[in-house]
């Protein structure tokens, strides 16, 4: 499989995430689109790590090729921590303004 196929697939998923953030007004859907973008980047990192595993430098030691997958693992760890705090913030926002429309969050505007 060519690396370009994986680059284009991750790019399409990432762009769908960006469009979702720009188009939707629901705070939870925007947060889910951020998760989609994180996953697109994770997929690209794993594909690059498997591309690197084909090179001659990586064949000497397998640790060398699995570093990127450790990195993806830590991205998942940070994403899990981020989701718990972010959802708590959204719940607090819902409690204060009784809506999750991001257009109502304009108190800092003037």
């Amino acid at each position: 499989m060519d690396i370009k196929a994986y680059i284009i697939l991750s790019l399409v998923l990432f762009t769908i995430g960006i469009i979702g953030v720009l188009v939707r007004r629901n705070a939870i859907i925007i947060f889910m689109c951020v998760e989609l973008m994180l996953n697109a980047v994770n997929l690209l990192l794993v594909a690059f790590s498997k591309m690197h595993a084909m090179s001659s430098a990586a064949k000497a030691s397998t640790n060398f090729a699995s570093d990127a997958q450790i990195f993806v693992f830590f991205i998942m760890v940070v994403a899990a921590a981020e989701v718990s705090v972010g959802l708590a913030i959204i719940v607090m926002m819902y409690r204060n303004v009784h809506t999750i429309d991001v257009n109502f969050l304009n108190r800092l505007k003037n």
């Binding site: 998923l13 720009l22 084909m54 899990a80 959802l87 719940v91």
Partner: protein
């Protein structure tokens, strides 16, 4: 066309189609369920790349824990298609146009370069649990321990943000 390419195409169509359904469906509960389908498709890609550990962790952590948390919050707020915020058509058109333009520019730039790097499919042991575990607990043990502190602070932060401010009312 080999069987690997057919599986790759099927999983890609599944991921992109479900992602499109996620951002277009009116009901937030349907959006959450479509995002779970996207995560399963990405896990299928990981299995195709022989990154078995990440495939399992992706299903357990993302599709299992995080999306259940999302579903819990959506159902707690009783969101449905009627409570969906009213959208501005012009802003939607601008968003789709700018996002599509970004994608077109990067795709055209990538298709210009002529790298013929191949990705190791369905082979190699760099993604197995044994190799990853040895690497994680030998070379990356300090970040692993620090991430436990991160989880503790995230838990305390979620509790502090989420509780009602009764102390201020009493004063």
């Amino acid at each position: 066309m080999s069987i690997i390419q057919i599986i790759f195409l099927l999983l890609s169509v599944m991921a992109v189609g479900s992602a499109l359904m996620m951002i277009t469906s009116k009901n937030p509960v349907n959006s959450v369920l479509w995002l779970i389908v996207v995560f399963f498709a990405i896990s299928g890609h990981y299995i195709l790349l022989n990154a078995q550990f990440l495939a399992i962790v992706n299903i357990i952590v993302y599709a299992g824990a995080i999306m259940v948390l999302f579903l819990f919050v959506v159902m707690l707020m009783n969101l449905n298609a009627e409570t969906e915020p009213i959208k501005n058509r012009r802003l939607q058109l601008i968003g789709v146009t700018s996002g599509g333009a970004l994608m077109l520019i990067i795709v055209s730039a990538i298709s210009k370069i002529d790298v013929e790097q191949l990705v190791q499919i369905n082979a190699g042991d760099s993604g197995l649990i044994k190799v990853l575990g040895m690497n994680l607990f030998k070379n990356y043990v300090l970040p692993f321990e620090i991430s436990s502190v991160l989880f503790l602070s995230a838990m305390i932060g979620a509790v502090v943000i989420g509780k009602k401010e009764e102390i201020d009312i009493k004063k």
